[in-house]
Symmetry: C4
Subunit: 195 residues, 4 copies
């Protein structure tokens, strides 16, 4: 139950974050297809950020599902992650409205990297509590994607000042890395006993 409320609150916050970005699509004047073209970059950034937040929700789901003990540190580490997630709509819009120029793309990457770090902190605190033989240790232990993502984000931020399109390609790469092998992780969690 304790865990349940942490999950419910996180679900609420993430649900709002993933939805409020859509409020930024200002309905254009005019009723032709042409008027939609200027908001197309904003739409693309919406898709990208929707996927990122979706990935975080999925991972958070798996992580908390494996977690058994929750304490004050976990609550704050979770709030810290929610804080950085809550900034994604802002950096998303700044990037979309400026057609993917240097600083907005770099700041977007910075926000992603901070989310990655916050997620890492949360998982480490849960790991420390649960111990090395726990279910959660199995999930996190085998998982080097977190570190790889942070490195790719860092390269993406640096390259934003050279060519922001490469940065975007790198951010997309991270999304794909997380998207694809989700099923594998899940098998690790769900095989032995639970459900």
């Amino acid at each position: 139950m304790h865990k349940g409320r942490l999950e419910a609150f996180s679900d609420g916050v993430i649900a709002i974050i993933i939805t409020i970005m859509v409020l930024e699509f200002k309905v254009p004047h005019g009723d032709s297809l042409q008027v939609l073209i200027p908001i197309f970059p904003t739409f693309l950034t919406y898709v990208l950020s929707f996927v990122f937040i979706g990935i975080y929700w999925n991972n958070h789901h798996h992580l908390l599902f494996a977690a058994e003990h929750i304490n004050g540190k976990v609550l704050w580490a979770n709030l810290y992650l929610l804080f950085w997630l809550s900034l994604i709509p802002f950096v998303t819009n700044w990037m979309g409205e400026n057609n993917f120029t240097q600083w907005p793309v770099a700041l977007y990457g910075f926000c992603l990297i901070m989310n990655g770090i916050a997620y890492y902190i949360l998982s480490q605190i849960l790991l420390k509590q649960a111990g090395k033989d726990s279910k959660i240790a199995k999930v996190i232990g085998k998982d080097k994607k977190g570190i790889i993502s942070l490195v790719i984000y860092l390269i993406g931020i640096l390259l934003a000042f050279y060519n922001p399109k490469i940065s975007l390609a790198l951010y997309f790469t991270v999304a794909i890395i997380w998207f694809v092998p989700d099923t594998r992780i899940e098998k690790t969690i769900l095989k032995p006993d639970n459900r």
Copy 2:
């Protein structure tokens, strides 16, 4: 519990989607009844979209209630459905602000069709997992409304360029199709054992 969190997150997102459309009713200047007339089309589209999202929530409710096994694919298929649902407020407002002209009505239909497809994908993934003798197979198996809806939407989109009012009438027809026999489906789910 696993399923519970998927439901809770979906509830959160759908609750926000169904509510944020009301933020688009900009309070008009003036305090007479006349000032409400220009926002009346927006109000009508709000009602229509509220009903559509309500239908999806109801169906999602029945579908997930019958579901037993949830995995990563289901999470992503569910997020894909939520993505298309999240675009309904945008297409709703574009249609309302342009008094139901061709392109906005066609795009509205396109968004509905994409929602229908996303829902179909979700139900098929759940079906595949649960197997042919499952509770979920009974619900989906007898149900041809999904396919019929997609066909009607398609006709609606095409006719939008001829006469958008016919399209709207067709969209309303789909809403009524889903609205009416809801009780019948439910009986199928709830009769044998559960509750």
Copy 3:
């Protein structure tokens, strides 16, 4: 569980409705106390509507707590109530921005009356299902406040064209009627067996 999800979805929608009204407080220019004066009527309407939505949430809570069987009709009656609740922020703002003149005050009362009717429909459907000897029948059966509220709202709407301040006083009266004897109802529900 079935009931649980209906409650969770309603909680989500009501939570958003009760909160988005605060988005209408546009931060005024200037940093003196004087600049807050023009938004004071908006603040008062926020308080009034917050209380009304709070009352509906409390009543909804008690009603659903007593409810045992949920079906498609209940889902739709509940959505119908949520629809009218979702219009409260709009009528609240229209009333606040026009300093409580005739039409806005009348429309506010109309929205309240429609909410009252929707709530009545929901309770009747639940009553019909549960039967005359049910827990829910005891709660609703003794309760004439619903009808009294509707009558007061109606008088309020009519008097809005004579003197809107009397209407507001009447709306406040209804709020107080519901606010005060909440404890009594609750005792009726919670005495015998549950908890």
Copy 4:
């Protein structure tokens, strides 16, 4: 279950409050780092208010976790707390947009003090119901931080007219007081039997 719904509704409202503040970051025109400077004070106030709302959520979590009996008074005391929490985004933005001048800083403190009082009322009502030997009495009984916070807020409000920066420092102090010993409280709750 009764308690569960109170928690779920509160989670929904708090999740929205903590998230909508981010909607106030209007995306600036221009794509250089310089355009972010004017919104930096708004960002700082966002961080501060995020932390305060996070503290209230954590405390609410602990309080309700220890609570056993819920009645109508608790529902209203909880709504009263949610009401004052819902005003935090407004006072936050007013303060951020005026670069921390006297009245905005004082009103911010006033809102914090009202939240503190509302929380105190809620905890006292829960205490009265549960009795002196209850789990909740142990948590609240040892806890003098509530009173200390109110005193510091009061000093902060008064000093805002002399030097608003001292007020801000005092508000931060309260945040730190609550932030740090959270773990200690938690031990008191979670040691004996539950979980």
